[in-house]
Each structure stands twice: as C-alpha cells, then as structure tokens.
C-alpha cells in the first residue's frame, strides 16, 4: 500500500501528534483511577467528607477525559491505517489476540468507570461496595497498559530470538516471545509509576489553579488539603522513576543499541529545534525532585497534614544525590553537574514559592504540574523519536514483522518501484565458522574438547541461557556438528 500524503506534513509528525495527544490523556486517565481510589479510601477511613468529594469530582473529570482519550485512540488507528498501512496491518495481525483482550479490558474499564461515577450517590449506603468497584479499576488499567506496553516495547526491542521466531512461523495473531520482549517489563514499570506521578501532580496543579481563583476559606482549605494528598501520592511514585529509568536504558543499550545511542547522543529527531529533548526531560525531572524536596523541607517543621519528617526528606535528598553521582560516573559529569544545579535551584524556588504564599503550595503545585506534563510528553516523544525511523530508511527492527521479500515495500514514502533492491543475501556460515565465532567470544575452543559428544544438546542450551546469541537454526547446526565430532 502507498502511504497517504497529509497536506505536506510528514506522516511521522501526524502520528506524533495523535500519539502524544493520546498519551497525555490516556496516562492521565490511568493515573487518576489510582488517585480516586486512594482519596476515597482515606475519606472513608478517616470519615473526612472532603476527600470523598474530591474523589467524586476527580472521577467526573476522569469520565470526561476517558472519552476524549478513547476518541483520540480511534483517530490514531485511522491515521496509522492511512499513513502507515502496511506497518499497521502487520502489527495488528501479529498482535491480534492481545489487542482483542485489550479491547475486552477496555470495555470492562469503561463500564466499571461509568458505574463508579454515575452511581456514586446511589451507592452511598454501600460505601465499601462502591470502593471495591473503584478498586477494580486499578487491575483493569494495569492489565490494559500491560498489553499496550508489551506491543510498544516490542516495536523498540523485538529482541533476537523473537525476531527469528516471527520470521519463521509467520504472523499468527499471538507470539508469546514477542509480547514478553526485553524492554517490556521496564517500560511497563516505568509507565505505571509515571502515570500515577503525572496524574497526582496534574490534580495538584488543578487544585493550585482553583486556589488562585477562590476567595472562600472553606474552599481554600479543601483545595489545599486535596492538592497535598495528590501531591504526596505523585511524589511517592516519582521517586521510583529515575531508578527504573536507569535499568530501562540499560536494556535499550543491549537490545536496541541504535535507539539507545540516538537518545544518548541526541541524534535524529531526539534533537528537536536545537534542543536535545532527552537531556531537557532529565533536567525537568531534577527540577521536580528539587522543588518537591524544597516543599517538604519547608513543611517538615510544621504539623500540617501530609508533611514528612525532616530525616526522611533529607534522607531522600541524600539518596538521590548519591544516585546522580553514580549516574555522573556512568554517563558524563556534565549530566551530574547540571542535574544538581537544576535540582538545587528548583529547591530554593519551591521553598520561596511556599513562603511567598504564606504556606500555601498553590504556586508550587502549578509549577510541578506543568513540569510533570512536559516531562511525560518529552519522555514519550524521546522513546518514539529514538527508534530507528519508519519513513527515512528500512530499519533493522522492521524485519520482525515482515518477511524479507516484503521489507522493501514498507514505511517508505515512495512508490515500490522506486525503492532500490536489497543487497544479495550473504552466504550462510558453515557450522565450524559459527562455532569459532560464537564460542570463542567467551572462552577458548580447547574447552570444547572437554565435553562428551552426546551431551552437546544440553550444553548448547545452557550456553544460550548464559547469553550466547544463537538462532534456533544455528543452535541446531552447532549441536549436530559437535555431536558428530567434526572439526571446527
């Protein structure tokens, strides 16, 4: 299929618009589900009505954005169908059953969410039942993004065995190894915590805006208190992100080196408008951490609700300082230096904002809310922009879902006849060459003589578990060669 022209705008930017729009709304919806449940439980346990009211209003907002997000998702599907038709039908074909399960979860979520909000008052006398209904949203959301993250992770790190398996077996609607690809777990953890953090800071930011607009004391107390509740949840989730992010990038370094180096070196679209988006995102995260710690250090001496004890605040600050020292050692000292500068500057700014508003965190809520939104957008953008391009060239990841003879027709905004032919296939290595290349990477070939000939099947399997990158076919050939006692 030939891609659709879109008013002169490169297709990747159209998809980026739909994708980021959906991410901004979808992530918010997922995180808000968690915030609502926590607020409702606290309200019920403490018998404080304002938290229940906050949960209800937040859930109404949730219902609204949920539908906007759904419609946007449909728009994304249409845009992908028109602009990247072959890519899209291939990936849908490969992940058909996960998508179907995703759809079932989506329906269960929508129904549960609807009942939870619209029957809030009717279920007032059955509060535990109502809370249980709300709690159901969390596993539904978790499972829903579990599937989407698996597919998203696959597009970045299909892995070696997975690619091999898919090429051999054809596209079957479900592929266990493709779903559980190398970066899936890290992406899922990172997104799960990031969603809660983003939603919490967003709701705190919303409370901050309301605090600016209202003059009534009771309302001010309500927004201040509920903003702090959201802020605390968000901050707790934020703390995990740099650590998960480190492991995530470590997986990328091994399984998607092109993407990793694109991100780290600011190559291609990661470098946008003269700005390296990945570094900018990290400076924003440092600013968020710093401002939040400034807020908590300012509060630690008071007995106000949701304050943290001083030793905990300074303990967290010390931990992240050490963490970023380690990051400086792994990456560059410039990274460490600017992170500390932004964190420290933001810490001072956070303390000043709270003092300036006589203890009200309205400005701080707004400040971190904006930073949080920008961070989520930049994070999503960097991940997608870091991936080798769909449109500029045939990326090596593409061959995961497309048999080789069709690769040349993929992703390129040119007619198939204009695409240069692929270079001829390299001749297959013989088994002896395979043994020399793979085995000698970790140990000498003399060691091979110490094993019994009938034990090679087990040994080759063990070596693959240790990390030797062999396809099934290569493993079979090596095993057969060694079992036969041939020279290498």
């Amino acid at each position: 299929m030939t891609p659709m022209p879109f008013m002169g705008i490169p297709p990747k930017w159209i998809i980026a618009f739909f994708g980021l729009f959906h991410t901004s709304v979808g992530s918010l919806a997922i995180g808000i589900g968690f915030i609502v449940v926590v607020a409702q439980i606290i309200g019920y346990r403490k018998r404080v009505f304002r938290y229940d009211l906050f949960a209800k209003r937040t859930q109404l907002f949730h219902v609204c954005i949920y539908n906007i997000g759904t419609i946007n998702a449909i728009g994304l599907v249409f845009a992908l169908s028109g602009l990247f038709p072959q890519f899209w039908v291939h990936i849908m074909n490969q992940f058909f059953w996960p998508f179907v399960i995703e759809e079932v979860l989506f329906f269960l979520l929508a129904t549960t969410l609807t009942f939870h909000y619209f029957f809030w008052d009717k279920l007032w006398g059955h509060k535990r039942l109502h809370i249980a209904l709300g709690i159901l949203l969390i596993p539904f959301f978790f499972l829903q993004i579990y599937i989407i993250n698996a597919i998203g992770g696959f597009m970045l790190t299909p892995g070696y065995q997975e690619a091999e398996a898919t090429l051999r077996s054809g596209i079957i609607g479900y592929d266990f190894r493709a779903l559980y690809n190398p970066s899936f777990l890290m992406l899922h953890l990172h997104r799960s915590f990031a969603n809660v953090s983003y939603a919490g800071f967003f709701m705190a930011g919303w409370c901050g805006i309301r605090l600016y607009l209202t003059k009534i004391k009771e309302k001010k107390d309500y927004y201040e208190d509920c903003g702090r509740l959201s802020f605390n949840i968000a901050f707790a989730a934020l703390l995990s992100l740099p650590i998960i992010g480190y492991f995530y990038s470590h997986v990328l370094k091994i399984d998607a080196p092109d993407a990793f180096w694109n991100i780290m070196l600011g190559r291609g679209d990661v470098h946008l408008g003269g700005i390296d988006t990945w570094w900018l995102k990290h400076l924003m995260v440092a600013a968020m951490l710093g401002a939040a710690l400034g807020f908590y250090s300012r509060l630690s001496r008071s007995k106000e609700s949701f304050s943290l004890p001083g030793f905990l605040v300074y303990g967290i600050a010390a931990f992240y300082f050490i963490f970023y020292v380690a990051m400086g050692m792994v990456m560059t000292w410039a990274f460490f230096f600017w992170t500390v500068v932004f964190a420290a500057g933001s810490l001072l700014l956070g303390r000043h904002l709270v003092s300036f508003h006589q203890g009200s965190a309205r400005a701080l809520f707004l400040y971190i809310g904006i930073l949080s939104f920008c961070t989520v957008m930049l994070g999503g953008y960097v991940r997608e922009a870091g991936r080798p391009r769909f449109v500029d060239r045939i990326a090596h990841y593409d061959d995961v879902y497309v048999p080789e003879e069709r690769q040349q027709y993929l992703y390129l905004p040119v007619k198939p006849q204009d695409i240069p032919r692929l270079p001829a296939e390299e001749k297959e290595e013989d088994a002896a060459q395979l043994i020399q290349r793979h085995c000698s990477r970790c140990h000498g070939l003399d060691r091979l003589r110490t094993y019994a000939r009938d034990d090679w099947d087990r040994i080759v399997r063990v070596m693959r578990i240790y990390g030797t990158r062999l396809s099934d076919r290569e493993a079979e050939r090596i095993t057969a060669h060694l079992t036969a006692g041939l020279e290498y």
Binding site: M1, T2, P3, M4, P5, L60, V63, C64, Y66, N67, I68, T70, I71, N72, A73, I74, G75, V77, F78, A79, S81, G82, P85, Q86, W88, V89, H90, M92, N93, F96, F99, V100, E102, E103, F106, F107, L109, A110, T111, L113, T114, F118, G170, I171, I172, G173, R406, K415, P416
Partner: protein
C-alpha cells in the same frame, strides 16, 4: 499483502465481526437519537415553561452519558477486529476513505467536548441561560448526526460502491463517487428515522414500567406523561420507514441485485420476514394504544390513518408475493387486513377501555422490545446480504471463504434469469445439478467458465441435500 488469515475459535470470522459491530451499533444509535431529541425537548420545555420536558431531556442526556464510555470502548473493537481478521480489506478501504475518517475523528472530538463540557455538566449552572444551553445542545446534536452521516456513507459504499476500490499502489484518501454512492441517502434517512422510532418506542416501554411501579403521585404523573410522549413520538416516526425503505430496496435492486436476491428469497430472507413480523407486533400494539389514549386528538389519529394509507400504497407498489397462491389473493388479503385494522382502531377509539390497566405497561414494553429487535435484525439483514461481506462486484474481500464466494456467484448467475428466487431454487431436491448446470450454461447469453460452473454445482449439491 498476503497476510495469513487469523482463524477464530467457536464461530467463523464474519460471526465475530457481526457480534462486535452489533454490540456497538445499538448503543451508538441510542446515543445519537437521544442527543438529537434532547435539545428539541428542552426547547419545548423552555417555550412552554414546562419543567417536565426539561427533566425528560436531561434524563435522555444522562442515559447517553452512561452509555458513552462503554459504547466508545466497543466502537474501538470494530477496527481491531476488522484489521486483524480482514487486513487487506481494511487497509484498502481506509485508504479510500482516509479523509472522511479523519474528519469523522474531528467531529467526534468536538461532539464529546460539547456534550460533556457545554451541555451535560453545566445543565444546572445554565438554567438562567437556557437559550445558550439549548444552542450547545443543538451543536452536540449536529456533530452527532455528522458522525452518523460519515459512517453511513462508508457503510453504504460496501453495499453499492459507486466507485472502484483503489489499487494497492494508489493513495486515494477521498472519492466523491464512493462517498456519495447510490444507497447513501436512503441508508442515512432510514437510520435517522429508524433511530427515533425504535429508541423512543423502547424508552416509552421502559418508562411505562416505571409508571407502573411509581408510588408517589407526582412521579407517577411524570412517568405517565413521559412514556406517552416518547411512545407516541416513536410510533409516529415509524411511518417514514416503509416509504424510505421502499425506495432503499428499489435502489438495492437496481445497483446491487445480488444483495437484493439475498434478502428477497435468498439466504437472509428468513431474517427479513422475522423483521416484518416484529413490525406487525409493535405496530398493532402502538396503534391501538394511540387510538385509545388519544381518542380526542383527531389530527394525530388522522396522521396515523394516513400513515397506514402510505403503508398500503407501498404494499401496492411492491410486486405481489405468491404466498397465497396468486397475486389477486395476496392483494385482497393485505387490503382487507389494513382496512379491517383501521376499522378496529376507530372502534377501539370509541369503545376501548382506558389505558390505566396493568397490562398496558407490559404491552408497551413488549412493543419497545419488538422495535429494538426489528432494528437489530434490519442491520443484520443488510450486512448479511452483501456480496462476500464486502464491496459489491468491485472487490471481493481477499479473506472471503469459498462458500461465501460460491453463494454469491450462484445468485449472480442463476437468479437473474430465473423468475424464481434463491429460496425456491434451493428447495428443489433430488436434482442432478451437474447435468442441469451443463444444460443451462449452453443457453444463449449464459457466460459461465468451467471453474464457475464447477463452483455453482458444488454449492447446489452441498445446499440441496
């Protein structure tokens, strides 16, 4: 693209596809009808200073809000299933209609923003700015209808294309011929009035049950009024359907004769007949209700009588059915039934018992359910009659199974010349089909390849044992 076809468990792919679509369409049509009617009701209430209309309008919008999220979630399932099960069809179809799909997305976004943030949520806050609120309601309704207009064009294309499917290497995006295809206006208006009719009859039936259960007088009064308004409106809307439906069928006959044969005596004729029976059920109940309940509103009763007159004209224009042996017997029968039913209605107006009896809420509910299933079966008939569930004669879905292809080849080749319908041919038992087909294909004008003849023989042998 030669993608492998994903096999579905339990049922064939088209059954799964149908079920996913049917789960979405009743919800979507309910929402569209409610959102179109709500601002009109609100406007009437505002003009008459009658808060009951406002309450009814708000109830409809509230119910639409409850349905919106599950309906949208189910809607997303449709592209997922189509892309997975019919990947090439989807890729080429969404290529042809890329711009309408994107515009539909914009309409949808505007619709949901107006519905949530300008219409439903500020209802109480805008009680003193009613005109503006009603205006927002109309904006919501407009975009809801605009979404339906786009989808009807895309859906009707698959029955009567008007333009060919694009080639694999051709980026199209938009085709006026394809969009404004022959059955588009008929499908749109048939659905437009159909949505009003079935949803309001259904709502009237449900409100009648609420009326029966209400204990507080003010509530009972409200539900009594509301069920009457909605039920009566739903029934009056119905009378547009046979007239539009007749025109719709004529266009299908001219532009998609194979689909027409499938409905009229073909493999979906049983469902079409069941739909007619259900129409008879709710028409009988609703007409009797109106003549008793509104015995003093002569213009309304005259309108219903005129509606039956229109129905009579449609039946008269329709070719006679041979159910009763001859055309004369058929025409005599339906003339007597319609005239007799009108006499019965006018007598009920004079002598019928008041609508306070307990059975009436249940009868109204039954009529509402019959209307709902009429609607559902109508959609089923249209979809099942399509040439391998795709674009008629222009492009068969690459994913169509052999039996689907053979069935439509049989319709196209055999039914056109024979004055029998598909059902009659399939009733024949013990025929040597091979000899028969060989004989028939020697006739002048029959252009049948050996491969096609073999497929028809196979189809007939497998389906007439």
């Amino acid at each position: 693209m030669d993608l492998p076809i994903i096999q579905t468990p339990l049922f064939p792919r088209y059954i799964w596809m149908e079920e996913v679509i049917y789960s979405h369409i009743p919800i979507a049509t309910l929402i569209t009808a409610f959102l179109v009617l709500a601002p009109f009701m609100e406007l009437i209430g505002y003009k008459r200073r009658d808060l009951r209309w406002d309450r009814l309008a708000r109830s409809l919008v509230f119910f639409a809000m409850i349905l919106y999220s599950p309906g949208a979630a189910l809607g997303t399932g449709i592209p997922i299933f189509i892309i997975g099960l019919y990947p090439e069809f989807w890729a080429r179809w969404s290529n042809l209609f890329f711009w309408p799909l994107i515009i539909q997305f914009i309409f949808f976004t505007i619709d949901v923003i107006f519905l949530f943030f300008f219409y439903y949520l500020p209802w109480d806050r805008m009680m003193d700015r009613k005109r503006r609120h009603i205006f927002f309601g109309f904006v919501t309704a407009f975009f809801g209808l605009a979404i339906q207009a786009v989808w009807d064009a895309l859906g009707s294309y698959t029955l009567t294309p008007g333009a060919a499917f694009p080639a694999v290497t051709e980026a199209v995006g938009w085709s006026a011929q394809a969009f404004f295809n022959p059955t588009y206006p008929f499908l749109f208006f048939h659905r437009f009035f159909g949505n009003f009719s079935y949803t309001m009859l259904l709502v009237g039936g449900v409100l009648a049950l609420k009326y029966m259960r209400a204990r507080v007088k003010s509530e009972k009064d409200y539900y009594g009024w509301a069920c009457d308004v909605t039920f009566s409106f739903g029934f009056l809307s119905f009378f547009a359907m046979p007239i539009i439906g007749y025109g719709y069928a004529k266009v299908i006959q001219a532009k998609a004769p194979v689909a027409f044969h499938a409905i009229m005596g073909g493999h979906v004729s049983g469902a079409f007949t069941l739909k007619m029976v259900l129409i008879l059920v709710f028409v009988s109940i609703a007409a009797t209700y109106l003549f008793i309940r509104h015995k003093n509103k002569l213009p309304m009763l005259a309108a219903v009588t005129a509606g039956f007159g229109g129905l009579y004209v449609v039946l008269h224009l329709h070719p006679a059915l041979d159910w009763l042996g001859s055309a004369v017997a058929w025409r005599t029968a339906y003339s007597l039934i319609i005239v007799g039913f009108l006499v019965y209605l006018w007598r009920m107006r004079a002598r019928g018992r008041p609508i306070t009896e307990r059975r009436w809420p249940w009868l109204m509910f039954a009529a509402g359910m019959a209307a709902f299933f009429t609607f559902a079966i109508g959609g089923f008939v249209r979809e099942r009659s399509k040439n391998p569930y795709a674009v008629y004669l222009q492009h068969e879905k690459p994913e169509a199974v052999p039996e689907e292809r053979d069935r439509f080849l049989f319709y196209r080749v055999c039914i056109g010349c024979h004055h029998q319908n598909a059902g009659d041919l399939l009733k024949i038992r013990g025929e040597n089909w091979r000899a028969r087909v060989e004989r028939e294909r020697r006739r002048l004008g029959v252009d049948l390849t050996d491969e096609e003849a073999g497929r028809i023989i196979r189809y007939l042998e497998e389906n007439t044992r």
